[in-house]
Each structure stands twice: as structure tokens, then as C-alpha cells.
């Protein structure tokens, strides 16, 4: 700083601070492109939606499809599975939110809010554990399904129930339900 005896800020002080601020703001503008280039690029953002034919899936069977590089679990649930999921009081849930991208945020995680309206047989979710991103077991007929009969993530031991809700283990959230539309009774569009 300029050496002066007066307490009054001098013209030089002003110029000094103005130059410094100008440089700092300019520097920030310069850094932004260097960071933002790391964010998902146009080709990653332009990921199309996919259409899936459900006609080959029997009750009690599952199918995994790939969407945006991630697995999507499609399960045609049995009546017992639906019943088991409905019998769970909301107060037993670790994550009380539906995590359904088709519903407003904060909807409660009851079974009706997890499965598509009027098609509760179908449970369609992104098959990525909300802990650290492994793909839980439970799609295959012989897989471990965990303590709640849904899915089990072997990476750090998260148990999901028959509505894909987290019930035990380190995962903080229910499996995500992606945006989806039924094009016909046996055809869906994800995304």
C-alpha cells in the first residue's frame, strides 16, 4: 500500500485496489472455461430416450436395459411382492421420499408412488445403488435378494425391498425411478 501519513485514502490507494479487483474478476472469468470444460458435453447431454418392449417379461421376471450408460431394472412384480411393499408403514423407511422423477419432489415413498399409476405390477428403476454406485443383485432368478426380498448391493451391504426402497445398509436413498411413459400396455419409453 502507498505510504502516506494521512488517514484519507489516496488516489493511489484507489487505483491500487481497483487494479487488483479488476485482475481478480478477470482471472475468475478466465478460469471458468477451464473448469466448465470438464462438465458433461453436448454429446453427453444429447442422450436420447429409449423404448422398451415389455411383452416378453412374465410375472416374477426381470429385465435390465441400458439407458444413458446406466442399467435400468424392469421388474414385473408378483402379487405377493406388491402386497409386501404396501404393508410397510412409512415410518419404517430410511428414505421417506418417493424418488420418482415423474412425481413432484417430496412425494411420500409409498408403493403407489414408486410404481407407475395403474400399472403397479411394473417396477422400473435405475439399477444403481444410491450409496456408491454399484449395480445391486436381484435381477437374476438365483441372485441374493437381501433381507427384504428385493435387491441386495454386495459392495457395502445395502438391502432394498420389493418397491426398490432402501431398508438396511449405508445407502441413503431409494432407487431412482426415471421419467417414463407407457406408449401402450407392453411398450414404455424411458427418458
Amino acid at each position: 500500500m502507498a505510504v502516506t501519513d494521512t488517514d484519507e485514502p489516496t488516489r493511489r490507494d484507489f487505483l491500487y485496489i481497483a487494479t487488483g479487483s479488476f485482475t481478480a474478476i478477470g482471472g475468475a472469468f478466465l478460469v471458468w472455461p477451464l473448469i466448465d470444460q470438464m462438465n458433461p458435453d453436448a454429446s453427453a447431454l444429447a442422450l436420447a430416450s429409449i423404448e422398451v418392449d415389455l411383452s416378453s417379461i412374465e410375472v416374477g421376471q426381470s429385465m435390465t436395459v441400458k439407458w444413458r450408460g446406466k442399467p435400468v431394472f424392469i421388474r414385473r412384480r408378483s402379487a405377493e411382492e406388491i402386497e409386501a411393499a404396501r404393508a410397510v408403514p412409512l415410518s419404517d423407511l430410511i428414505d421417506p421420499e418417493a424418488r420418482n422423477d415423474n412425481l413432484p419432489e417430496g412425494s411420500p415413498a409409498n408403493d403407489q408412488n414408486r410404481a407407475p399409476a395403474g400399472k403397479e405390477e411394473w417396477l422400473i428403476m435405475v439399477g444403481i445403488c444410491t450409496h456408491l454406485g454399484c449395480v445391486p443383485k436381484g435381477q437374476g432368478m438365483s441372485d441374493k435378494k437381501g433381507d427384504f426380498g428385493g435387491w441386495f448391493c454386495p459392495c457395502h451391504g445395502s438391502h432394498y425391498d420389493t418397491a426398490g426402497r432402501i431398508r438396511k445398509g449405508p445407502a441413503p436413498q431409494n432407487l431412482e425411478v426415471p421419467v417414463l411413459t407407457f406408449l401402450s400396455d407392453t411398450k414404455i419409453k424411458i427418458g
Binding site: M38, K66, G69, L132, C153, G157, G169, P170
Partner: protein, 421 residues
């Protein structure tokens, strides 16, 4: 100490150079750098680490000449290196096992520092720079392991990058920034390759600072007492160069055993299966050198809590110089600390074992106990010990202790006396 030496250029060329770039003075300082004459073989790991860094850079730059950082070709380009490139398998095995050897050396180097109190004043900055190097090594090792694009590469990358999503508010954004997409994919592989190439050179820079910070106070030593005069030291060359060289040869024998006879012993067979984003291997484990930290991560039954504990386990090392309240450096004169040191080593090994086990039943309980102990060692035991422990009397000087131990008479002519251990 560094002031003891004033470099005198010996011929016309070096005089000319010295006036323009006084680099010979640095070389001269390094050669004549006075080292305590009682330092033992635990002190040779600094030199071994320097060797490891150079070896990784040399083998790595060569591998990069044959490797392709693209999701559709990365896995095959590794097989191409292994099968087609002349000596490719050797270079790859040297680089992969070199990483493990690097970590073996750094862990020994760090435990040496813990045992002899090398982190205490006036070496705090030296220690902190060491922890920075350690963090950078972990980052480099992690990103390097992703490059072969095997199943462990992919799922290791997925789990570790997802750690960042635990950060409140900005976590998801950071994760997307790391991925360059919505999952680990080609953009991720590309940037990891770029950063994996860069980080070792940053490490090299920090090593220069580390050694600079070493040469200001000088080496610690097994007695942990300060150097008093010239009699306590010997010049780095030829004494330490010879000793470090000998230790390096022993280290290289072990290194060669792995490279030539057991190159996949420290790797994981699942990494010879190409990455598949739809199937997680039944049991994912990180490389052995991350296992203790992985065990801490899994010990906490909460996502954010686990991540905080894991990073905290390293962060606590940064403040270690201020947690240890004892003025005495070396564990030789701290009978209680010495015992707690060995318990701590066992605790770290135990965590390493548990990190490799499935996260179920007794293993989880054991990990929790050891995690609590790990932090208690730094946050409770060390501060309290300094106050309650009665250290043994310290020797007057390094020279005196050496001579007493070997029953010799005081001789000023250290250079002529054969080195005794």
C-alpha cells in the same frame, strides 16, 4: 547446517557456469550435506522412494506410447502391450508392481517418521509436505488403476467418484464434473489418463520442496536429539550414497521377485475382464494399499459419515505435529509411546485385512473397533501420553551415545573410522 558449505568452483568452466547458474553449488551441497552418523536402515527409504518415482515416470511414459485411452480400445491396447510390444509385458509389470513397491516404501518411511518423532519441531513442514506427497500418490495410483479398463478399474472408479456425491449440496455437481457425463465413461477415462500423466510430475515438484525442507533442519536420527557439532555427522557422499545404494539393491531384489516371478500377486484377477457397466463383480476390493482406508469408509454405517472418516484418517496426519504433546522425539526414550506405536501398527494392518473382507457380520464390528482406535491413537492417546509419560534420560550427544554403545574412545577423525552400526 547448509551454511557450513561454501562452494568453490575448481576450474574455469565451473567458475563461468557458477556466475551464470549456480547449480554446481547445489550438487556440492547435496554431496557434502552432513547426515547424523547414527542413522540406520530405516532412513534409506527416502532414497528408495526417489528411485520409485523415477522408475514409475520412465516406465509410465513408455507405456503411454502404446496405450489408447478410449473405452473401446483401452482394454485391448493393454493386451497389445502385453503380447505384441517388445518387452511390453516387462514394462507393464514393472509399472504395476512398481506402484505397489512405492507404497510399501512410503508406508515404511511414514512409520519410521512416527517411531522416531520426525514430524516434530522443527520438521513440521517437512512432514506436511510428505503427507501431501502421500495424497498425490494415492490419487495417481487410483487413476492409473482405471486405465486398463477392466472390471475392477471401472467399479473402483465408480465407487470412488461416488464418494464425492456425499458432500452436501455440491456433491452431485462435483461428481458430474469428475465424470464428464452421467456415469463413469469415455470422458472419465480420458481425463484420468491426462491427470495420471500429470500427477507424478507434481509429486516430483513437491519432493523437491520436501527435500529442501529436510535440508534446512537436517535429518532427524534414531536418538531424536539434535546434532551438536561436526563430530555428530558424516558427509552424505560417500557414506549415505553407499548405504542408500546397498538398501536400494535389497529393495530391487524384492521388486524383481514380483516383476519376474509373481507379477500378478498384488493385482486382482477380475481386472483381466473388460469393464461392463451393467454388472458389478460380486466382491469389489481396491488395491491393497488403500485397504485400511477402505475399511474405515465401510465401518461407518452412513454415507457422508464414512467419507468424512476416510478422509479424516489422512487429514489427521496433517495436524499430528500438534497432537503429540511430548517434547521427546524418538520412541527409544518413550517407553509408553513405544508400545502404543506397535499397537497402532497392528491396528493399521488389521484395518488393511478387514478392508479386503466382505462387509458383513464380525468384520464390520471389528472394523468399527479398529477405526475408533485409529482415531483415538491420534486424538486421545498422543496428547495424553505427552503429559503422563516419563521419558528415559536422553544422551548428551549423538557422538557420545555412539561411542558409549561401541566402547570406543572419542576420536575426532570420524572419516577414518570404519562406520559402526
Amino acid at each position: 547446517m547448509s551454511e557450513d558449505h561454501t562452494y568453490q568452483p575448481s576450474n574455469a568452466f565451473t567458475r563461468w557456469l557458477d556466475e551464470r547458474l549456480p547449480i554446481m553449488g547445489i550438487v556440492d551441497h547435496m554431496m557434502g550435506y552432513p547426515t547424523p552418523k547414527n542413522i540406520n536402515y530405516w532412513w534409506t527409504f527416502g532414497g528408495i522412494l526417489s528411485f520409485c518415482l523415477v522408475a514409475q515416470i520412465v516406465t509410465g511414459v513408455i507405456l503411454a506410447m502404446h496405450y489408447t485411452p478410449h473405452v473401446s480400445m483401452a482394454f485391448n491396447s493393454i493386451e497389445h502391450i502385453m503380447r505384441d510390444v517388445n518387452y511390453g509385458h516387462l514394462l507393464r509389470y514393472a509399472h504395476a508392481n512398481g506402484a505397489s513397491m512405492f507404497f510399501i516404501a512410503v508406508y515404511i518411511h511414514m512409520f519410521r517418521g512416527l517411531y522416531y518423532g520426525s514430524y516434530k519441531a522443527p520438521r513440521e513442514v517437512l512432514w506436511i509436505l510428505g503427507v501431501v506427497i502421500f495424497l498425490l500418490m494415492m490419487a495417481a495410483g487410483f487413476m492409473g488403476y482405471v486405465l486398463p479398463w477392466g472390471q475392477m478399474s471401472f467399479w473402483g472408479a465408480t465407487v470412488i467418484t461416488n464418494l464425492f456425491s456425499a458432500i452436501p449440496y455440491v456433491g452431485e455437481a462435483i461428481r458430474e464434473l469428475l465424470w464428464g457425463g452421467f456415469s463413469v465413461d469415455n470422458p472419465t477415462l480420458n481425463r484420468f489418463f491426462s491427470l495420471h500423466y500429470l500427477i507424478p510430475f507434481i509429486i516430483a515438484g513437491v519432493v523437491i520442496l520436501h527435500i529442501w525442507a529436510l535440508h534446512v533442519p537436517g535429518n532427524n536420527n534414531p536418538l531424536g536429539i539434535n546434532v551438536k557439532d561436526k563430530q555428530d555427522t558424516v558427509p552424505f557422499h560417500p557414506y549415505m550414497t553407499a548405504k542408500d545404494g546397498f538398501a536400494l539393491v535389497l529393495f530391487l531384489i524384492l521388486f524383481s521377485y514380483f516383476v519376474f516371478f509373481n507379477p500378478n500377486a498384488m493385482g486382482h484377477p477380475d481386472n483381466y475382464i473388460e469393464a461392463n457397466p451393467l454388472v458389478t463383480p460380486a466382491h469389489i476390493v481396491p488395491e491393497w494399499y488403500y485397504l485400511p482406508f477402505y475399511a474405515i469408509l465401510r465401518a461407518v454405517p452412513d454415507k457422508l459419515g464414512g467419507v468424512v472418516a476416510m478422509f479424516g484418517a489422512i487429514a489427521v496426519l496433517f495436524v499430528l505435529p500438534w497432537l503429540d504433546t511430548s517434547k521427546v522425539r524418538s520412541a527409544r526414550f518413550r517407553p509408553m509411546y513405544r508400545q502404543f506405536f506397535f499397537i497402532f501398527v497392528a491396528c493399521c494392518m488389521g484395518l488393511g485385512y478387514l478392508g479386503a473382507m466382505p462387509a458383513e457380520g464380525i468384520y464390520v464390528i471389528a472394523s468399527r473397533i479398529l477405526t475408533v482406535y485409529y482415531f483415538a491413537h491420534f486424538l486421545i492417546i498422543l496428547p495424553v501420553l505427552g503429559m503422563v509419560e516419563k521419558p528415559k534420560p536422553l544422551p548428551e550427544s549423538i557422538s557420545k551415545a555412539v561411542l558409549d554403545a561401541h566402547g570406543g574412545s572419542a576420536s575426532a577423525n570420524t572419516a577414518a573410522a570404519p562406520e559402526k552400526r
